[in-house]
C-alpha cells in the first residue's frame, strides 16, 4: 500500500467530487489516498507524499475560492518543494478564453518552487457534455503508475 494525497481546489464542489471519486477509484486498486480541500492545507501539513492536484477555474481564469489561501501562502513563503512529485488535473470549459487556467496557475507555482510534475496535465472540458468523473478516473488510472514508483525508490 502506498500513501498518496489528493488535494483539490474548488468553487462549487465539482473538483471536490472529482477528487473524492479519484480516491475511490484508486482505493479499488489498493492505493490508499487522503483527500483534502486545499483550503485546509497549510505549508506545514503539505508533507512530501506524492500528490494529485485537482482544480477548477473561476470567472476569467481565476483560482477557485478554496485554492486561493494555499496559493497565496506558497507564493509568500516560497518553501523548497524539490522533494515533491505531483500530477495535475483541471476542470474547465473551453468556451471561455482562459480555459482550465486555474490548475495551470497552481502547477506553475509548484514547478517554480522545485516540485516535479509527472505525466500530462489531465483536463475535463465541461462544454464536451461528458462526465468529469469518468474523464478524471481514466486519467488518474493512467497517471498514478508514474506517481507511485517515485515514492517507493
Amino acid at each position: 500500500m502506498s500513501e498518496l494525497q489528493i488535494l483539490f481546489g474548488t468553487e462549487s464542489g465539482n473538483s471536490e467530487m472529482v477528487a473524492e471519486e479519484i480516491g475511490e477509484a484508486l482505493a479499488a486498486q489498493d492505493i490508499s489516498t487522503t483527500v483534502r480541500d486545499l483550503g485546509d492545507v497549510t505549508i506545514d501539513s503539505l508533507g512530501s507524499a506524492p500528490l494529485i492536484l485537482v482544480s477548477s477555474t473561476y470567472n476569467e481564469g481565476d483560482l477557485p475560492a478554496s485554492a486561493e489561501p494555499f496559493y497565496e501562502a506558497l507564493a509568500a513563503e516560497r518553501p523548497d518543494l524539490s522533494g515533491l512529485r505531483f500530477a495535475a488535473f483541471g476542470l474547465g470549459d473551453s468556451t471561455y478564453e482562459h480555459y482550465s487556467k486555474g490548475v495551470d496557475t497552481l502547477r506553475g507555482l509548484l514547478l517554480d518552487l522545485g516540485a516535479r510534475q509527472v505525466g500530462d496535465t489531465g483536463r475535463h472540458d465541461a462544454s464536451s457534455g461528458t462526465d468529469p468523473v469518468q474523464t478524471a478516473n481514466e486519467w488518474a488510472t493512467e497517471t498514478v503508475g508514474l506517481l507511485i514508483p517515485a515514492t517507493v525508490k
Binding site: E11, S12, G13, E16, S127, S128, G129
Partner: protein, 396 residues
C-alpha cells in the same frame, strides 16, 4: 414608411399574448432576417445560438442596468448576486456556493424524495391531482426550506408573491404593475424577516443560520442576510416547478419516453436537459455592455440594453436540428442550452434544480405506468417569465 428600427421592433411583439404563448415563429423569422436587431433607441436583440453563447458571457456584459433605465423595485436585491458584476459578484456568491456542491445536493435530494413520498402516500392511483402544485411546487419548496432550515409553511402565497414581483420585469409592464410588484416584494421580505427573527431565537444549522453567522462575524450586513434568505426561500420552487410540470407533459405525450426514463437511468440527465431546452422558464436574459461592442457589423454603444431571448437560442436550428422535436439523443457536445443562463450569472441553483427534476420524474416513472392529462394545463406568462397555474393529471 417604416424605419429599420420600427421594422425590427415588429419582429419582437413582446407584449402580444399570442407571441408570449408561442414566440417561436417570430424567433424563426427574426433569426432568418439577421443575427442582431436594434428595436429601439437603446435596445438590441441577439437571435442566434453561437452569438449568444459567446457574447452574453463576455466580461463587458454587465448585469447592472444602465443609467437611462427607470429604477426598478428589484433593487430590493441590490446586495445579492442578482445585481453584482465581478469581482464583487464572487464575494456574494461565495457566501453560499459551498451549500450547493454535488456532494451536498445528494443529501438535499433526500428531502425532495421524502416530501414527494409524502404526497404519493395520500394519492390514490387514477384519481385527479395537480402535478404542478403537488409535485412541482411542494417538494421543491420543502427541499429549499430544509436547506435553509426554515419552516416550509404554505408555499402558495409565496409562489404568487414572487410571480407578482416578477411582473415588473416584463419588457412593457401594464400600468399598475409596479404597485403589484412592490406588494409582492414586501410580502416576501416581511415573511422572511419574521422567520429570521424566530430563527435568531431558535438557531439551527441551515443555510439561513450560515448567513446569520456571517452577519455576527461582521462579514455581511443584516440587509445582505435578509436579501439572500428571501432570494433562496422564494426561489426554491417556482422555476424547478415549470420543468417538473413540463416533464409530466412529456410523459403524457410520449409514453415511450416515460418507459425509457424508468428503464435507463443513464438517459435521465439528458431527458431533463432536453425538457429544459424546450421549456425555458426565465425567457429573456438582459445585459448592458460597459464598452462599445460590434457584433456582426452592428455597432452597439456602451450602456445599451442587449436582450438575449432564451427561446430563440434554444431552438436555433443551426445548433439543434429539428429544434421543436423532443430528442434526448442530441450529441453531448451540442446539448448545452441557455435555460439556466451562462457565465457569471448562470443559475446558482442549476445543479439542485436538475437533481430535483430528475428525482421527482424518476419516482413518478417507477411508481406509475402512465400520465394522463385531465385538462389543458393553465399557464401564466409575460415575455420574461412563465409558470403553471394548474396541471391536472391522473397517474395510472
Amino acid at each position: 414608411m417604416t424605419t429599420a428600427i420600427e421594422a425590427a421592433a415588429e419582429l419582437f411583439p413582446w407584449s402580444d399574448p399570442e407571441f408570449q404563448q408561442n414566440p417561436y415563429p417570430w424567433y424563426d423569422r427574426a433569426r432568418a432576417a439577421g443575427p442582431v436587431h436594434q428595436t429601439d433607441e437603446h435596445t438590441y436583440v441577439l437571435t442566434r445560438y453561437d452569438d449568444v453563447m459567446h457574447y452574453a458571457k463576455l466580461p463587458v456584459m454587465s448585469i447592472r442596468e444602465a443609467d437611462w433605465v427607470n429604477p426598478n423595485p428589484w433593487e430590493a436585491f441590490e446586495n445579492t448576486v442578482l445585481s453584482k458584476d465581478p469581482p464583487e459578484h464572487a464575494k456574494s456568491r461565495r457566501l453560499f456556493s459551498r451549500w450547493f456542491t454535488p456532494k451536498l445536493i445528494k443529501e438535499w435530494i433526500e428531502y425532495t424524495r421524502e416530501s414527494t413520498e409524502e404526497v404519493l402516500s395520500s394519492y390514490k392511483r387514477g384519481t385527479p391531482i395537480d402535478a404542478h402544485w403537488d409535485f412541482g411546487v411542494v417538494p421543491t419548496h420543502i427541499t429549499m426550506a430544509r436547506v435553509l432550515d426554515l419552516p416550509a409553511g404554505d408555499p402558495e402565497p409565496l409562489f404568487w408573491a414572487l410571480w407578482d414581483a416578477m411582473l415588473i420585469q416584463a419588457t412593457d409592464p401594464a400600468p399598475g404593475t409596479r404597485e403589484v410588484s412592490v406588494k409582492g416584494l414586501n410580502y416576501m421580505f416581511n415573511r422572511t424577516e419574521e422567520l429570521l427573527r424566530e430563527k435568531i431565537e431558535k438557531p439551527g444549522n441551515g443555510l439561513a443560520d450560515a448567513f446569520i453567522q456571517a452577519y455576527h462575524d461582521g462579514t455581511i450586513t443584516w440587509r445582505e442576510v435578509l436579501e439572500n434568505v428571501v432570494l433562496f426561500y422564494m426561489s426554491g420552487a417556482p422555476n424547478p416547478a415549470v420543468l417538473i410540470g413540463a416533464g409530466f407533459e412529456v410523459f403524457a405525450q410520449h409514453p415511450e419516453i416515460m418507459r425509457e426514463y424508468r428503464d435507463k437511468p443513464e438517459i435521465r440527465e439528458r431527458v431533463v436537459n432536453e425538457i429544459a431546452r424546450l421549456t425555458p422558464v426565465e425567457l429573456i436574459l438582459t445585459r448592458f455592455p460597459t464598452e462599445d461592442i460590434e457584433i456582426h457589423g452592428v455597432k452597439i454603444p456602451a450602456g445599451s440594453r442587449i436582450k438575449f431571448p432564451v427561446g430563440a437560442v434554444n431552438r436555433d436550428p443551426d445548433a439543434f436540428p429539428n429544434p421543436d422535436e423532443f430528442d434526448y439523443n442530441r450529441p453531448l457536445d451540442a446539448s448545452r442550452n441557455l435555460t439556466f443562463g451562462l457565465g457569471t450569472h448562470a443559475c446558482a441553483g442549476q445543479a439542485i434544480a436538475r437533481a430535483e427534476v430528475t428525482e421527482i420524474l424518476t419516482m413518478i416513472s417507477e411508481r406509475f405506468d402512465s400520465v394522463e392529462m385531465l385538462a389543458e394545463p393553465e399557464l401564466v406568462r409575460t415575455d420574461r417569465l412563465v409558470a403553471y397555474k394548474t396541471l391536472p393529471v391522473a397517474l395510472r
